[in-house]
């Protein structure tokens, strides 16, 4: 495609910019650092109806204002996005959109993150000239878990077009026409697609809201951290929204190599659900028959003294970070335990037809490839524990184990975040931070190493696994423990095939593929 590679130069608001031929004026403006307000255009949705008329700009030689979202940039073109005509037109669109808008920002979940609110403040008038009664559409449920506030809707049809273009499921439609138009499910159809939650994210206003989030948090009350969805082996890049140390919402974060702008509903719930369960908040050691709390120093020294590898077995989780797995492997090597297994819960696979690389994958754990990278093997079911053996458990590997599991072990070391029934048999408990509470990396199905960042404070004195295991190794005569994730990653990268040359900083927020040495066997899909 020699045409596509051809560069053209145009001027946008006085800024000269060179772009590839075929770029739209709106995209070219982005290159020039000029934001053209828009509603119906969404970079991830291919159809561009140019219907919100918000992105109209003045182009020299064109008699009318043109929608920049579809108008192709031309060589030598002169574009003005802030000319008086363009500004007035935009101001007028805002006025039109607000005619029947309830202006219920004080109770709207989108307030603070709302494109209508932002542009209304930027360009709108203080007073509406609209003297008529507002239309009232009320609230509807478009899906089991999604509410539709019809009055707030600006009928940009992003949601309808997401379902049509990306999900490949025409469950949503525009009902009625003209000023009575609203969004609804097609008669007789349910909006039950596994990726339906994305319609809430693409909504530029507060018309579509997840029911489990409605009225829960204001935009400015939440902190946000970049994370990786732990729901399956795809490793969707996400934004974790936290309020009062609880995950209240997860949203997809753009990564064109992994999930584009999207994520599935299964994943959307996974971190929110991690708020639940009974947590291990302090180290515990079994002295005099009872598990007793201890300080980290006492506990680590005690474990270092008591732990030995006699006929030991290890069980790890595919839901913990590579760094946790790396230091667990180092600990096992130190005490002479070989092997180690992990289980992966299986589920139905769902493909997003408009972006087929993105699937809710059968492996419902984020780091199975990482566990294999650290030489743990996939197994079905829990291994039998030989009487008197050493048992090392990492993470939620025993979440469903019977309550007497490990009771016959000689030494049962539990490293994890939650107190599952079988943890009652442990000889020592080292309380770990969850995925949302620590920094770390996962390796997804195709061998992409991706960073996730700490979003929550840990309860009690729980700490990231890599942090306290590196100190335990120090007690056992190893190198001094690490306190920072980049050091933990660097220690891991030096000794692990596939991670050569990688650094925490170098991974950035888009991740990096494993070198050939560490490529998973199933990488090619």
């Amino acid at each position: 495609m020699s045409d596509a590679a051809k560069q053209i130069t145009l001027t946008i608001d006085g800024v000269e910019v060179s772009v590839e031929a075929g770029t739209t004026v709106l995209q070219a403006a982005e290159h020039a650092g000029v934001v053209v307000p828009h509603y119906c255009y969404h970079p991830g949705i291919p159809s561009r109806p140019a219907q919100c008329r918000m992105c109209l700009v003045e182009i020299e030689g064109q008699p009318k204002l043109q929608p920049s979202c579809v108008f192709p940039a031309g060589d030598g073109m002169v574009v003005r996005t802030t000319s008086e005509t363009a500004e007035t037109a935009r101001k007028s669109v805002i006025e039109f959109l607000l005619l029947n808008h309830p202006l219920d920002c004080p109770i709207c979940d989108a307030a603070g993150q709302c494109m209508l609110q932002d542009y209304a403040f930027e360009t709108g008038q203080l007073r509406s000239r609209y003297a008529e009664a507002k239309m009232v559409l009320g609230r509807d449920r478009v899906a089991e878990d999604i509410l539709y506030f019809g009055d707030r809707c600006i009928v940009c049809t992003r949601c309808v077009r997401f379902m049509e273009d990306i999900a490949g499921d025409n469950a949503l439609v525009v009902a009625q026409r003209g000023h009575k138009a609203y969004i609804d499910t097609f008669p007789g159809r349910d909006l039950d697609h596994a990726f339906r939650g994305n319609i809430v994210d693409v909504c530029p206003v507060g018309a579509l809201v997840h029911e489990d989030f409605v009225f829960k948090a204001r935009a400015w009350d939440m902190d946000s951290s970049p994370g990786i969805c732990p729901g399956c082996s795809t490793g969707c890049n996400i934004e974790v929204n936290v309020k009062e140390n609880q995950v209240v919402r997860t949203k997809p974060r753009l990564n064109p190599d992994v999930n584009s702008y999207w994520m599935c509903d299964h994943g959307r719930r996974s971190l929110v659900m991690s708020n639940r369960g009974v947590r291990a908040e302090a180290p515990m050691v079994r002295q005099g028959g009872e598990l007793e709390p201890a300080s980290w120093n006492e506990a680590l020294a005690w474990v270092a003294g008591e732990l030995n590898g006699s006929s030991g077995i290890a069980l790890v989780s595919a839901g913990v970070s590579n760094e946790a797995l790396f230091y667990t492997r180092a600990l096992l090597e130190r005490i002479g335990v070989e092997g180690g297994t992990f289980q992966v819960e299986q589920g139905d696979e769902v493909t997003l037809s408009g972006f087929p690389k993105l699937k809710l994958r059968a492996d419902r754990a984020p780091n199975a490839v990482g566990a294999e990278l650290h030489r743990f093997t996939r197994a079905d079911g829990l291994p039998e524990v030989p009487d008197g053996a050493t048992l090392v458990v990492l993470g939620d590997a025993i979440s469903n184990a019977p309550a007497d599991y490990g009771a016959n072990a000689g030494f049962f070391l539990y490293i994890g975040s939650h107190l599952f029934p079988a943890v009652g048999n442990a000889t020592a408990v080292l309380p770990a931070a969850t995925v949302a509470e620590s920094d770390g990396t996962f390796v997804n199905y195709e061998g992409r190493v991706q960073r996730f960042h700490r979003a929550l404070r840990t309860p009690g004195v729980a700490r990231p696994t890599w942090m306290f295991l590196s100190r335990l190794l120090e007690h056992l005569g190893g190198e001094s423990g690490v306190r920072e994730i980049d050091d933990a990653f660097a220690a891991m990268a030096t000794g692990t095939a596939g991670l050569e040359g990688m650094s925490w900083a170098g991974l950035g927020l888009r991740g990096e593929l494993l070198s050939e040495a560490g490529q998973p066997a199933v990488a090619a899909e």
Binding site: P49, K64, S92, V93, L99, Q176, K180
Partner: protein, 423 residues
């Protein structure tokens, strides 16, 4: 001839000659009246030669925009690589227009013949006749005619033994004004909502079902057989240089003899209203005329001396549109009439573009308020503002359609608005 009244101006064309003649509806009767004589000739012609004749005839689109038909056909790819389609736009919904309806119900075979000749010219393999949803009885007449055309070998496989095949499908819409806009028509034809799409892609590049498509009005296609039969010069004996031929005029409102009349383009509008239609009944004066269907600018009685053709009406500050003068006598409230027009467009807006979706309904509400005596002086400023913001800002011209009559009524009948506001 006109329908239901005849008029004195002698125009010898085929468009309306058989209006009112039941025989024209059946294949046998139509053949007896000289029908289907041109199709065999067209089948022997090179497709581009047909286009050339139509181009030379100067025939302009009768749907309102007046785009030269032959030029439109010439946009279609010459070397088909896949299907081409012809859409016949029979979604006649413009208030005031009732010309296509007469063609559908009196001379359906004329339309079918025109469609097939046009399909031949643009190398289409399928003709879709998109009929307005409310035209249920007329679509039944057309359907019967299509069945007969198939039986007679005029449509379908191997037409008249020429080896050329073309299907004709009658598609009944669900009743939306905007399905009469060509891209809206194709959206609806493809099973979607009748929502116009932004061009490009133009229909000749990617139209119905993503294939090159031409959309032509019923009256345009009905004029094609006579042009191909008699030649471009013959057709040019009527009309003006830029607007050749005859046109069906749909005259409604306060008239002595309202109806559909076939008149040459370039006829004086005053003659159409006073001579042909006999002026307003009961000796009333005429206050205003909307000359081209409800979406054109109003003219006052003083402004009626203009040439009834595309360029003449533009000169007069209005538009020929579908040549459908709506006449309002001196008792008419312009504000009420305008409110009714605005309500129509608010009801028919597809709802895509914000200016149209919100602007048409806001306009109608303001006009209603003024009409019932609750208007304010600012309302007129707001209306003017709306007129600016609804012009040329949207995908299709529906919003503009309110603006043309609205601005002209504000300019020419401001006193009526002000009187209601002051009351």
């Amino acid at each position: 001839m006109g329908y239901p009244y005849s008029h004195d101006l002698e125009v010898g064309t085929q468009l309306s000659r058989h209006f009112g003649d039941e025989r024209a509806r059946t294949l046998e009767g139509w053949k007896g009246l000289g029908g289907y004589a041109t199709l065999p000739k067209a089948l022997e012609m090179d497709p581009d030669a047909i286009t050339e004749v139509v181009k030379n005839s100067g025939l302009r689109g009768r749907g309102g925009a007046g785009f030269p038909t032959g030029v439109k056909w010439s946009f279609m790819p010459k070397e088909p690589n896949g299907a081409h389609y012809l859409c016949c736009n029979a979604d006649e919904s413009e208030p005031g227009a009732f010309k296509d309806r007469e063609i559908l119900r009196w001379v359906p075979h004329l339309l079918i013949e025109g469609c097939l000749i046009a399909a031949r010219a643009i190398r289409a393999e399928h003709v879709y006749i998109y009929v307005r949803g409310e035209f249920f009885p007329f679509s039944a007449i057309l359907r019967d005619a299509v069945v007969e055309a198939y039986e007679g070998g005029y449509a379908g496989e191997d037409i008249l033994g020429s080896g050329w095949s073309c299907d004709v499908t009658v598609h009944l819409g669900a009743g939306a004004y905007i399905a009469g806009e060509e891209t809206g028509l194709m959206s609806s034809l493809m099973g979607g909502r009748a929502e116009p799409w932004i061009k490009p892609p133009f229909p000749a590049q990617s139209g119905a079902f993503g294939r090159p498509t031409t959309v032509n009005n019923v009256e345009t296609l009905a004029a094609v057989p006579m042009i191909v039969a008699e030649g471009a010069d013959w057709y040019r004996q009527w009309g003006t240089d830029k607007s050749p031929g005859t046109k069906l005029w749909c005259c409604s409102g306060h008239l002595e003899r309202p109806g559909t009349y076939e008149l040459p383009l370039g006829v004086n509008l005053r003659d159409v209203i006073y001579e042909v239609c006999g002026g307003a009944p009961n000796g009333k004066k005429i206050k205003a005329v909307i000359p081209g269907g409800s979406s054109t600018a109003m003219l006052t009685d003083d402004e009626l001396d203009c040439s009834g053709c595309y360029e003449g009406m533009a000169e007069a500050g209005s538009a020929l549109g579908t040549a459908s003068p709506i006449v309002m006598n001196e008792d008419t409230s312009i504000v009420s009439a305008m409110r009714r027009i605005a309500q129509f467009y608010a009801h028919e807006s597809c709802g895509q573009c914000v200016q149209c979706r919100e602007g048409t309904s806001w306009t109608a509400k303001i006009l209603h308020r003024i009409e019932v005596g609750e208007g304010t002086a600012e309302d007129l400023d707001t209306l003017y503002h709306l007129c600016v913001q609804m012009t040329g800002r949207t995908i299709c011209p529906l919003a503009d359609s309110v603006v043309f009559p609205l601005v002209s009524s504000l300019d020419k009948f401001k006193d009526e608005y002000e009187a209601l506001i002051k009351r």
